[in-house]
């Protein structure tokens, strides 16, 4: 389990309203030290929201963010501010920064951290359960959406859910995109799969 907002991914400046809201809403940390990550609410008691998330370090180093940026983060898909899964990246939406954005610059750590937060905030409780148990990662909306839904599929049980962007990955570890995401969620990141998936189109 990992803290959701590790210092190494924290930008020097606030990421924005989303990050502020998340920080204010969630007190996150390992179950071993809940006192550090809980908030005492007057007339209520100790309020703790503890979720487990995959490793944010390998989100970058294993190329999970690169996969998301290239395959999901185009401006007509998740490279839009209003999306629940909002992906920043070099070839799509750039995060607002003081002094303007250098659009030719590679994806910044700040943007990668923001992508991570966006991803793990989709279904925090469900993701937490998957990370803790190591089971049923493909029930996550992240995976189900990426698989998409084909009503004419000869194998309906292999389908995910309706996704306006269609099928991005296929269910099963033979698919690099599936392997990239599910392996990372299972704390066994697969950089080769992520690289292959990122460059598939």
């Amino acid at each position: 389990m990992t803290r959701l907002f590790p210092n190494r991914l924290q930008g020097k400046r606030p990421i924005g309203a989303l990050a502020a809201t998340l920080l204010a809403s969630f007190w996150i940390g390992c179950a071993s030290s809940p006192s550090e990550d809980c908030e005492r609410i007057p007339n209520f008691g100790l309020r703790c929201t503890v979720i487990a998330v995959p490793d944010p370090g390998t989100f970058k180093s294993a190329g999970v963010t690169t996969f998301l940026e290239r395959r999901c983060g185009t401006l007509d898909c998740h490279g839009q501010k209003g999306r629940a899964l909002r992906v920043y990246g070099l070839n799509g939406l750039r995060a607002p920064r003081e002094g303007g954005v250098d659009t030719a610059a590679p994806t910044t750590d700040e943007e990668i951290a923001s992508n991570f937060r966006s991803l793990v905030s989709l279904e925090p409780e469900e993701l937490s359960r998957v990370v803790r148990t190591g089971q049923n990662a493909d029930r996550l909306l992240l995976i189900q959406k990426a698989i998409g839904y084909d009503p004419d599929s000869p194998i309906p049980e292999q389908e995910g859910v309706q996704h306006k962007g269609g099928r991005v990955i296929n269910r099963g570890f033979s698919d690099e995109g599936y392997r990239c995401l599910v392996s990372w969620i299972g704390n066994k990141p697969d950089p080769d799969a992520c690289t292959a998936a990122a460059n598939a189109y």
Binding site: T74, V101, T103, A104, G166, Y201
Partner: protein, 184 residues
């Protein structure tokens, strides 16, 4: 024989009758709103009227997101496009449309239009579903070429066939300032 009191029992209570106009209004409001998408309608409305002197057709509405209207549920649903857009000579705000530019598209199934579309005198091009070899499938890769000039888009088209959904006039999208009109 059925008595009069039987029918009176079937009649709605007088209080309910007074609300009939309200029910009628709600029914009408529900029926009129159930078949429209206000977000979509606002996007179409924002495109404005036709430019003076340019009739509806292949030369109209340069630089606008073609597939917004030329889609299954759009106002131009009788002419559905898979991909469509306008190509300009440069990224400059006062640039001219680029005619004679060939557009090369490959979808995720490896299919392309049977014949590569070429921009007309207004820089416009479009591809209909029937022009495709097979069923078009997003995402797609795209490049443009004219003579010795060519340019490939760095990212793919995720799901929207309108170039102008992302590519707009310079300064129109501050958050993605490197995305301007499609140009050679």
């Amino acid at each position: 024989m059925i008595s009069k009191s039987f029918f009176s029992r079937l009649a709605p209570p007088p209080g309910l009758l007074r609300l009939a106009p309200l029910f009628g209004f709600l029914l009408l409001a529900g029926a009129s709103s159930s078949c429209t998408d206000p977000v979509f309608d606002a996007q179409v409305e924002a495109l404005g009227d036709e430019a003076p002197g340019i009739a509806e057709g292949p030369l109209h509405r340069g630089g606008q997101p073609c597939v917004l209207c030329h889609s299954k549920y759009g106002p131009a649903s009788d002419h559905v496009f898979v991909v469509g857009g306008t190509i300009y000579e440069s990224a400059d705000a006062k640039t001219l449309p680029a005619a004679g530019v060939e557009v090369l598209i490959v979808d995720s199934g490896g299919n392309s239009p049977a014949t590569n579309p070429v921009t007309n005198e207004k820089g416009n091009f479009f591809v209909r579903p029937g022009d495709w070899s097979g069923v078009p499938r997003f995402p797609m890769r795209v490049a443009i070429a004219r003579g010795s000039q060519s340019l490939a888009m760095a990212s793919h088209i995720g799901r929207d066939g309108s170039c102008a959904t992302c590519h707009r006039a310079p300064g129109k999208r501050a958050e993605v300032t490197n995305i301007v009109w499609v140009h050679l």
